[in-house]
Amino acid sequence: MPSPRHAQVERERCVSCGSCANECPREAISVWRGCFAIIDKARCIGCGKCARVCPADCISIVKREAAQ
């Protein structure tokens, strides 16, 4: 049963610092080739830890249904 929410990255604003990846308890977020963070939605449980540490404030937690 997937979680009701997941994280979403605003790519244009991501600074690819990797704070989110270091914080994620599920290893569901990674920095794609130094360009921006990408989310593995299947693994993400929408806990919001990544969004809280993001210095660029570019991660939001969205409803899973709404995003699909």
Binding site: S16, S19, N22, G34, V53, P55
Partner: protein, 197 residues
């Protein structure tokens, strides 16, 4: 619980770096590791592994609030991570770096003499004479060390201020090295990104 990697201890590096520079300014050259290694990784491997894992400064900004609860943990203003500010700050930093090289060349050519001061925030001249005995090395190299140490200390102070007022790694949102390596990584991808989800 997530495994804590060895590089979480790299916050020690900036502490060691600034301590060494306090006693002998020539150790400032070691800061070139922080300058060249991220560029090397970005150019040859096309990623920001340095920023993401081993940046000592980033680790320090994570470590301090974790142990001393010294960050307000607030969202940084959006202009701080805007492209205009990031690239503007990068340009400013590179200009300042160019000025350090210029001053070192002037000393090398004997046009100007060595100034044994550390300049904080590009304004405040702090006497730092004890860290270099003239004749113990080449003066141009000492001049570069003073300039580079000033740049490193100034950026660390800015980083600490934004760490306290905003979130731990607020500095990373406009770090010139981070902006530069991200630009290199994006250039290497030539706009070919995975599809948005």
């Amino acid at each position: 619980m997530k495994k804590r990697n060895w590089y979480k201890w790299l916050w020690i590096w900036p502490v060691v770096y600034f301590s060494l520079g306090f006693f002998n300014i020539l150790f400032a050259w070691l800061g070139m590791i922080d300058f060249l290694l991220p560029l090397f990784i970005a150019v040859f491997f096309g990623n920001k592994w340095f920023c993401n894992n081993i940046c000592g400064r980033a680790q320090l900004f994570v470590f301090l609030p974790r142990f001393f609860k010294c960050s307000r943990q607030k969202v940084a203003p959006r202009w701080m991570s805007s492209a205009l500010f990031r690239y503007g700050f990068l340009a400013f930093f590179l200009t300042m770096f160019g000025s350090i090289i210029h001053q070192s060349i002037m000393v090398f050519n004997g046009v100007s003499s060595l100034r044994q001061t550390v300049t904080l925030l590009w304004t405040f001249q702090i006497p730092w004479r004890w860290a270099y005995v003239q004749g113990s090395g080449s003066d141009w190299s000492a001049q570069f060390s003073y300039g580079f140490y000033s740049l490193m200390l100034t950026s660390a102070i800015i980083g600490l201020i934004v760490m306290v007022f905003y979130c731990p790694r607020a500095w990373c949102s406009f770090c010139p090295m981070g902006s530069m390596t991200q630009l290199i990584c994006k250039a290497k991808q030539k706009g070919k990104y995975p599809p948005e989800d």
